[in-house]
Amino acid sequence: MSSIATTRIQRELKDIKESNNQSIKIELKSDEFNNLRGEIVGPSGTPYQDGMYKLSIKIPETYPFNPPIVSFDTRIWHPNISSVTGAICLDILKDQWAAALTLRTVLLSLQALLSAAEPDDPQDAVVAKQYKDNQKAFVKTARFWAQYYANAPGPRDTDCVEKLRKASEMGFYKDISLQALSTHSWDLENAIQYLTSC
């Protein structure tokens, strides 16, 4: 890895430690400076509130002149994040990256993205459609995913728990059942039909 990138990452890690912001975290995965692990807390007032989201951060050889490659390891239901792969659609991770930005600004921007989705520039078309057409189902799903995958606290929606139990009792994997139920806005019949057809 180039010395510029390494030095810069070392300084950034130090800066994050000193900034003492409890809601974001970045650490090395191993001794390699090109592979980092991030964590953000879901912002309050959103369905993601108090969820713990793990991020994978890869630093290109040409950092900071090119952006870091960031994706969600923890699964999340959000219009600008793929519910399957965790890939993120965010301008500063693409053509609007500038070398004066940092990993810290990226994580803060991701928190801001969780607070304010941009459904017209989606990464996950299914989620974005639900967000626009059926806001109630979207909030319910996003909240349930936050509890299910990101350990967000609070009582789980009994309708979701029940339907997920039914689908998995029929022999489908839980993750796949949850994906199908979420995609079909918790219409059990449609979700089962979809699961049996694949």
Partner: protein
């Protein structure tokens, strides 16, 4: 060979057409970075000083319009130094060309150095993060100071040819440009179309690397550093070259050649 390439591009476009949004984005990114790699492999960040007449070889002999313009260029300029076409060419040409000139002619150095030194505080006043900006500034100012401290021409050239150092310098010139635009926003806002605010313009068109420069970038950068630049425009418009001085009516220190989408350094006779 050019025909082969445009044929390939067509095929790729067809292939991109039916993709879902995010896959499309990723495919475009991959394509862009492979184009960037191809450019990087074929040209230096900064080339050697070449005889101006070699420009003739870049156009066909029966391209009367360009051949005539090159003849006129030859009357005024003896050499050209090419830059890599990576979107940073204006900043790299400006950075190297200006410092190179001041190696032999120190007249413009004090004002340039003073403006360069003051730029950091101006960025801090605009609430830029000191943490990253400081790093770029320190590298930038050490290169600027090296000119006074008697750096050799070869050393300066090597600095600008070394990808990391060279890009550090470009990043900071972009920041100076952005800072100047924002400090005099009432004036510059008039030049911005598309309903962007000046801050949005800076974030999307000035600060990111690899984005090409327009008139407005040149006006802002030259006025921020008190620099005088003449640009010779060689494009498909008109029968002859046109020239533009930044700022107007100044005595240019640095001469640049503009061809659509690209800047190189020119050396007057």
């Amino acid at each position: 060979m050019d025909n082969d390439r445009s044929h390939d591009n067509l095929k790729e476009q067809d292939y991109l057409k039916d993709m879902p949004n995010h896959e499309f984005d990723e495919a475009v990114n991959t394509m862009q970075s492979s184009i960037q790699d191809e450019i990087a492999a074929s040209t230096d960040l900064l080339g050697d000083k070449l005889d101006i007449s070699m420009l003739k070889n870049e156009y066909s002999a029966d391209d009367v319009q360009y051949q005539k313009k090159i003849q006129n260029l030859e009357k005024r300029y003896s050499h050209v130094r090419k830059t890599r076409g990576d979107g940073n060419c204006f900043f790299r040409a400006f950075g190297f060309g200006y410092l190179e000139h001041m190696l032999s002619d120190k007249k413009d150095y004090p004002i340039f150095q003073e403006n360069a030194s003051n730029s950091f505080q101006k960025l801090m006043d605009l609430k830029y993060p000191s943490f990253t900006v400081e790093d770029f500034f320190e590298n930038f100012i050490s290169v600027v100071n090296s000119v006074k401290e008697g750096v050799s021409h070869t050393e300066l050239l090597n600095t600008f040819r070394e990808e990391g150092m060279s890009n550090y310098f470009v990043v900071y010139l972009r920041l100076i440009t952005s800072c100047q635009l924002q400090s005099d926003s009432d004036f510059y806002q008039n030049f911005i179309d598309g309903g962007k605010t000046l801050v949005e313009f800076c974030k999307t068109e000035v600060e990111p690397m690899y984005l090409e420069s327009d008139h407005i970038h040149i006006i802002a950068l030259t006025s921020a550093l008190g620099a005088c630049v003449r640009v010779a425009y060689m494009d498909r418009g008109g029968d002859d070259l046109s020239f533009h001085d930044f700022p107007e009516d100044s005595q240019p220190t640095l001469h640049l050649l503009y061809r659509p989408g690209h800047y190189d350094v020119l050396y007057p006779r």
